[in-house]
Symmetry: C2
Subunit: 346 residues, 2 copies
């Protein structure tokens, strides 16, 4: 479908950065993979290593202590393995009645710190144990709640898939905010950087908004990055393009343009609010806000070469970035669930 429709370079003013120990992180993560063995075949192992999760989080936390970054890296590998086995494929991926009990018990592993028998939960347990040794109870709690947000929204996506239901745009954006894995991935910034943002800062409306906007921008970037692959495979699953095509009756080129505009408007507001949140911020908050920038840029740079997004579309041009938005509209998105990001009181 429309091989000539290609996303433009991504608006992203954050500079590229990678942790100097990226290779060591990958080597140690592969040892862990071979230890916990959630893969069943050599092909699954190669696919998991090919997620380049070490590079991914080495870009998110380029200056974190290596042992702490490793904890985040392991979770990202785990997340991809879990996604492949339970969320995007497999018998649970279109059956919420099977997905929910599995996800609920996996989530309990994070909360309880218990060592369960089921292989994915057992692998997750090794990561949670590292985490509890490295960071405070408050940081662990934030990760735990973010992890639940992710699993709940994946269940929502699974439910829509089961019902053959294409969500409306505001529903999709609400769902995608969590289902992309953004909440645990941004919660890992505190762990990877060995910080705890003071609660009055972390729970302020401005920092909550910047965190959510980062999650949405990165999630839409993943949609745009897999656009070419998905169009080639004629997927009909839920993503920003299929949602816009379906409900607004746009052709793929017009849907792509609309999607890029939504994404750029959110990022523009994020830049503004992030700068304001920096005024008078603690050192921990400044590190966290920097991390959100690294996350957006790192996600783009990682996706440019990761086999996961390129597979099936060998002719896809590598992602590049630009300094200016597609749509400089400073007005709020016209959806009540998101327009508060533009409140003047933030």
């Amino acid at each position: 479908m429309h091989a000539d429709v290609v996303p433009p370079p991504f608006f992203c003013p954050f500079p590229e950065a990678v942790h100097p120990d990226a290779e060591e992180l990958e080597r140690r993560a592969i040892e862990w993979i071979d230890d916990v063995r959630v893969h069943r075949t050599a092909r699954e192992r190669a696919r998991l290593i090919g997620s380049n999760s070490a590079e991914f989080y080495a870009r998110f936390a380029p200056t974190g202590p290596t042992e702490h970054v490793l904890t985040a890296v392991l979770w990202v590998y785990w997340g991809f393995a879990f996604d492949d086995a339970w969320c995007d494929d497999g018998p649970c991926s279109d059956d919420p009645s099977r997905f929910l009990p599995m996800a609920g018990q996996v989530q309990r592993t994070v909360e309880s710190g218990a060592a369960p028998a089921e292989p994915y939960a057992a692998a997750l347990h090794t990561i949670v144990t590292r985490m509890r040794d490295q960071v405070s109870g408050t940081v662990t709690r934030r990760f735990t709640d973010a992890h639940r947000h992710w699993l709940q929204n994946v269940a929502w996506q699974v439910g829509n898939r089961a019902a053959g239901r294409m969500p409306t745009l505001p529903e999709y954006l609400t769902m995608r905010l969590g289902s992309s894995g953004g909440p645990p991935t941004t919660a890992l910034l505190e762990i990877a950087n060995a910080i705890e943002v003071p609660p009055p800062e972390m729970d302020s409306p401005a920092v909550r908004a910047v965190t959510e906007m980062t999650q949405l921008v990165a999630a839409l970037d993943n949609d745009l990055q897999s656009f070419h692959k998905e169009m080639t495979e004629t997927h009909t699953d839920q993503n920003i393009i299929t949602v816009l095509c379906h409900h607004d009756r746009l052709d793929p080129a017009a849907a792509l343009d609309a999607a890029v505009s939504i994404r750029d408007r959110v990022l523009l507001r994020l830049l503004d609010l992030r700068e304001r949140a920096r005024t008078g911020a603690s050192e921990e908050l400044r590190t966290y806000l920097d991390g959100l920038g690294h996350a957006i840029r790192g996600n783009i740079d990682w996706a440019a070469t990761v086999p996961r997004y390129l597979a099936g579309a060998p002719g896809t041009p590598a992602t590049s970035v630009r300094d200016q938005p597609n749509d400089p509209n400073p007005a709020p998105l016209p959806f009540p669930a998101f327009s508060w990001w533009w409140d003047r009181s933030l």
Copy 2:
């Protein structure tokens, strides 16, 4: 089924207490009910008022500032209305693909503070607005995450119902920890008492454990309180008795005895840990720990007369309490997801 099988008096050493403004709280809540109008008929309105939610939370927070307790009271009414319309009955109650998008968008109302059009979400919005005006961002965040925990676990219950699947005992306990509404109800203790427990205390393993144990004891008490009603109506839905009958092949009398033992063992450990958590605790934490005791006792006293549990079983004896457990066994429950509550390190 076995009208002669009746739960024994509930082991509960906490004294009875009720807020002096309980009647005013009910009067003002009824004004709110008539304002937001989530009921469609006079019968639904009467059923909602008959939940005695004002009395319920007046027992949970007997000394909180009235305006703050009112916020909690309104949420409890809202929770019962939502339960009746979406969780226990109605087209979503056995269809996770319908429940999940609805719950996800309701949850977004709590996060975003946006005023939505859908009546239940709009009613919830009025409560969240009160909350944001009364308490800190951190307390609001805790409530928000607790609210998601509840909705996710209700979805799990809905999924099991759809699949005709009876969970195992450890799965049931994990699910029930959230699906009963325990997480938001205990999170409301901070709001109703106008306190913020300092994060290092709130996120400590001991306080997390005491909080979870309170949620489980109250949830099992609700199972036991509706035991007679459910047996009379020959319900086959998931509760501690049906789970034990199904998987352990117990008759109702033996299942009841096993359930009371589980519940009493948890409460015994809770008493021990709550006392230890009190040592050196801040005033806010002491208020919170007192609140957890009021919650367990208040839930029992409320259920003794509320029409919701008595309907259909007019001959049910009122609940009473006793000082000693059915089973004084101090050993951990033999389930990894829960045995950490007995860790010596707590």
